[in-house]
């Protein structure tokens, strides 16, 4: 019987490196993100059990993720019970050469390109910046600050985990709900947020909103 010889197939692999801050996944800037997700899925499937239950950092370089891409990444990692504890440890180091002991390694900025739509929920340990809108039904949860460079119309939870110093900033602030640390607040009925950029923070035991 004819048996085909196994072809040496060149398969691209993603690199995991052990950095000071923790195990880091490097996603190259070339090719589409969806492409790398497929590579990652295959790779983790082959290395079943190796990463199970761990938390990793993800280095994206200059790449900016859409909400859907981030959800896709989290979904694949969740399949292998891997959690993301932060983004871009390398870039952070470059921007901030002074060693800062008090900040946990995971606090990086997650930059989201495009609108966070109804049904999309993004969680991040650190700050979140959205270059677009947060639509009704969409949710952002950050342990740090949340900045929306557009209209914030959904639910934003800054300082999740208890940071009462966290702030929420939006060019148009018309949220369904604002949450900072343990404090929840509902926007007054009919608030359209047409006052230009505004900032929300905790004063006393309440969330207050001021023009920026």
């Amino acid at each position: 019987m004819f048996v085909p010889a196994t072809q040496p197939v060149h398969v691209e692999q993603l690199v995991f490196k052990g950095l000071k801050q923790g195990l880091t996944l490097f996603v190259p800037e070339k090719e589409s993100f969806v492409y790398w997700l497929e590579v990652l899925d295959r790779q983790l499937d082959q290395a079943k059990g190796f990463f199970q239950g761990g938390a990793i950092l993800v280095e994206l370089g200059e790449r900016q993720l859409t909400p859907g891409e981030l959800a896709g990444l989290k979904k694949i990692l969740a399949k292998y019970r891997i959690r993301i504890k932060g983004f871009n440890p390398v870039q952070r180091k470059k921007l901030n050469p002074r060693p800062e002991k008090q900040l946990p390694a995971s606090s990086g900025v997650l930059l989201i390109k495009g609108t966070v739509r109804n049904g999309q929920r993004l969680e991040h340990e650190g700050d979140i910046v959205v270059k677009g809108d947060l639509n009704p039904g969409g949710e952002l949860v950050a342990t740090g600050d949340i900045i929306v460079l557009g209209a914030l119309r959904g639910i934003a939870h800054a300082g999740a985990g208890g940071n009462v110093k966290a702030e929420i900033i939006a060019f148009t602030l018309a949220p369904v709900q604002l949450r900072i640390a343990h404090i929840f607040s509902r926007a007054p009925e009919g608030r359209k947020g047409q006052h230009g950029p505004e900032i929300a923070y905790i004063k006393g035991e309440k969330i207050v909103v001021e023009r920026l």
């Binding site: 859409t66 896709g72 049904g119 999309q120 639509n135 009704p136 039904g137």
Partner: protein, 266 residues
């Protein structure tokens, strides 16, 4: 050249997906394009009724997927008015799990070589039926009505389309009532665009003719006196790359209307 595969979807039910597919399909066929409409709403099929083709169904989408009929062509129903318009009906006695996204891709791949346009009528919802309908599509038309609930669902759908790598869906705003918009009782185009922020393909005014035409099984696009029919003809022209100004929503006569008035000496 391979044809365009466009899914028509909305999330919410009853906003006019099937009516849109029937009208766009017919409108494109009137412009001598070879068009096939696929009803992906297995178990709740309607497109055949709206097209007035119900009594001609022998094989359906599930038969093609399960290879009960010899080829996909066996299941295609030729429209009774236009010879270059075809329908691939859904099965009525099965459910959404009867086909898989992979089977859908295979069926569409076979049709793609032969047709200029493949329009997929997506069921309401975001589960298996949606996955099936979207699987083979490379473009999407999102249909919404000027209601908060429909717009929310449209927003959800746009996010889900992104996950399926359809990044630039276009919007049809259906059943707009200019009189209500003028009084401020209905969301207008700007309100909706504020939330959804995708390209507008067309605005279809609320029109009683649609109900009549649906019941008769004759798409409104064939009726020269229907306002909605005119809107769908414009939509078809935009899909073909023409620049067509949007119907004025505030009830004022557009440029063409004013020109007509001038001619009539009014």
């Amino acid at each position: 050249m391979a044809g365009r595969v466009i899914v028509v979807t909305s999330g919410k039910g009853g906003v006019g997906k099937t009516t849109t597919v029937a009208n766009i399909g017919t409108g494109l066929a009137l412009r001598h394009k070879k068009v096939v409409m696929i009803d992906a709403d297995i178990g709740l099929r309607n497109l055949d009724v709206v097209m007035g083709l119900e009594n001609r169904i022998i094989y359906d989408l599930v038969d093609v997927a399960e290879k009960t009929c010899r080829s996909v062509h066996k299941a295609l129903i030729k429209d009774k008015r236009l010879s270059n318009l075809f329908l691939l009906p859904a099965a009525q006695t099965r459910n959404k799990d009867a086909i898989s996204p992979e089977q859908m891709v295979a069926i569409v791949d076979e049709l793609k070589e032969e047709f200029d346009y493949i329009l997929v009528d997506c069921p309401a919802g975001i589960e298996r039926g949606f996955d099936n309908a979207v699987a083979a599509a490379t473009e999407a038309i999102v249909v919404t009505t000027p209601e908060v609930s429909a717009v929310r669902d449209a927003d959800r759908i746009i996010g889900l389309l992104q996950d399926k790598e359809i990044y630039d869906p276009v919007l049809i705003l259906n059943r707009l009532r200019p009189d209500m918009v003028r009084k401020g009782d209905m969301m207008d185009v700007d309100d909706i665009n504020d939330i959804l922020a995708i390209k507008l393909l067309g605005i279809v005014p609320d029109d009683e003719e649609i109900i009549i035409s649906t019941n008769k099984g004759e798409p409104a696009v064939l009726n020269n006196h229907s306002k909605a029919g005119e809107a769908f003809r414009n939509i078809v022209r935009r899909m073909e790359g023409e620049e067509v100004p949007f119907m004025s929503v505030n009830g004022e006569p557009g440029l063409f209307g004013r020109f007509l008035k001038l001619l009539n000496g009014k």
